[in-house]
Symmetry: C2
Subunit: 200 residues, 2 copies
């Protein structure tokens, strides 16, 4: 049984997914593999140089309103970031390099809160360092390791895997290899682990 | 209290929405306004000359698989159409011109079944005529009326209204003026009619 969570730190709908996935998974005794990746290269391959929510205005306007409704229903704080999309490169390198560390889920949530609740620049290494420090992690060491050539190369490979898995947006979930896209499909993706044989 | 259902006959996700909306609405005593429209002009305004599911391959591949899962879960027959997207112009003119007729919900479902369950060419007036005849409607008269200049102009106005409402995809729902997009938001849209004051 395998469950992968693919998320991008600038992705709006990844935020509620990241905030709620762990408590849902624990209640169902599901282990999650946390996979940060970058949507930029995915979008570039589709001919977009910006978030489609910025390119397609009506869709973007709808998304911001939808985010308000979703976060309100989940009682998650939400403030529309003054800059969108924000640069999540450093945070993504950290999440990729330290994927199996105990503190990763808390780090991921701290970065999302910084971006979507506190309107902080998650591209600023001081903001990232602060998120790490809150968790009692040695931020200098982690950031230096995340900026090494090895870590950069690891993230490129991670993004190649996302492309090979046909991931085209975030959040995405892979439940025993079956792809689900969107925060609103999280429950179905979990359900797939027990009922998926029907269509497989 | 007003509830509008905006759908496009070629739209895959509009199919399950159209098949299930009436029974859900009846159980909640909600009156639905059925609004057919054309996505073509909406997509053209965004720079697309084809369905985004054809333009963006990974997204399209995911959508077809997702449709299988959704229709399976709802026990709705589904066969991937051999031509996509199909030309729903005549059916849309009929649905727009005869919007308030008693037979419209059945007609809408018959067209969707033809497209997504029976793989028939809904752009063929014989197929449309057959859908009408099944309902005991005079197909010759309805089709002639739908092809009049008045009906063509009515559909253009209908599409203008969709654009003014910031509708960018199908299915869309307007619950007391609040926009929801996607088959998976139908329940939330209905709920908005009773709880919507919270965020309004």
């Amino acid at each position: 049984m395998s469950f992968q969570f693919w998320f991008e730190f600038a992705s709006t709908y990844s935020y509620p997914a990241a905030m709620r996935i762990e408590s849902l998974a624990v209640s169902q005794r599901i282990d999650i593999e946390w996979n940060a990746f970058l949507l930029g290269p995915v979008f570039k391959a589709q001919g977009w140089n910006d978030s489609p929510f910025n390119i397609y205005l009506a869709k973007g306007r709808y998304m911001w309103r939808d985010m308000e409704r979703i976060c309100d229903a989940l009682s998650i704080p939400f403030r529309r970031p003054s800059v969108f999309p924000r640069n999540g490169l450093l945070a993504t390198r950290i999440a990729t390099r330290f994927k199996s560390s105990m503190w990763i889920p808390n780090f991921v949530r701290a970065i999302y809160r910084a971006n979507f609740a506190d309107d902080l620049d998650i591209g600023d290494s001081a903001v990232v360092a602060n998120c790490l420090a809150q968790l009692g992690v040695d931020s200098d060491e982690v950031i230096a390791t995340a900026n090494s050539d090895e870590s950069k190369s690891l993230l490129r490979s991670q993004n190649d895997i996302a492309a090979q898995l046909n991931i085209f947006g975030a959040p995405s979930f892979l439940a025993n290899g079956e792809l689900f896209w969107g925060n609103d499909r999280l429950e179905q993706a979990f359900q797939w682990l027990t009922t998926g044989e029907k269509l497989a």
